[in-house]
Amino acid sequence: SAVISQKPSRDICQRGTSLTIQCQVDSQVTMMFWYRQQPGQSLTLIATANQGSEATYESGFVIDKFPISRPNLTFSTLTVSNMSPEDSSIYLCSVALPGGGGGYTFGSGTRLTVV
């Protein structure tokens, strides 16, 4: 199974600033997925990142607020821009295991607190 290294694991940020979250996968994957998990909630998909093309965003999420990079098949970043306290959440990246099926692997998450 794929192993994802996600960092930072947590951060406390001032409102109005930006934070970039990184995910490194130990194997090449076509798609990477970014999720947000607000306190006490389930996971909500932010966007799907395909290498070599612009990310596809879900309703309620826009590129200006959550720009995503996907420079190669093993790496992606999500930036949370111009942060406000409402952005305080856990952010997670995920990949589908190569070959399809067999589950999706998640990073350990980034716990963001905006003050």
Partner: protein
């Protein structure tokens, strides 16, 4: 630290008893389903999966049941242990591994020793 699942429904089970966690999914076209376990401060961990051409699948101490007629999924944990205490999510997917998972609301399992 902050705990995931503060506002989620909670299931309390005595250690050694069996646990049943239920999930209703929304998309009748979904053909792949996964149960995840999430402990505080960690990302979701894969437990077991099932495809829509099956009704039941068993793993070690866990069984997943799928009822496509009523779009219902359940996770059964046998002989529940304190280490099983966590938040459990069901997730559904339609299509290949290039499509994202859609997560259910989650249930917090609390094991009473």
């Amino acid at each position: 630290g902050e705990s995931v699942g503060l506002h989620l429904p909670t299931l309390s089970v005595q250690e050694g008893d069996n646990s049943i966690i239920n999930c209703a999914y929304s998309n009748s076209a979904s053909d792949y389903f996964i149960w995840y376990k999430q402990e505080s401060g960690k990302g979701p961990q894969f437990i077991i999966d099932i495809r829509s051409n099956m009704d039941k699948r068993q793993g070690q101490r866990v069984t997943v049941l799928l009822n496509k007629t009523v779009k219902h999924l359940s996770l059964q944990i046998a002989a529940t242990q304190p280490g099983d205490s966590a938040v459990y999510f069901c997730a559904e997917n339609r299509g290949s591994g290039n499509t994202p998972l859609v997560f259910g609301k989650g249930t917090r399992l609390s094991v009473i020793a």
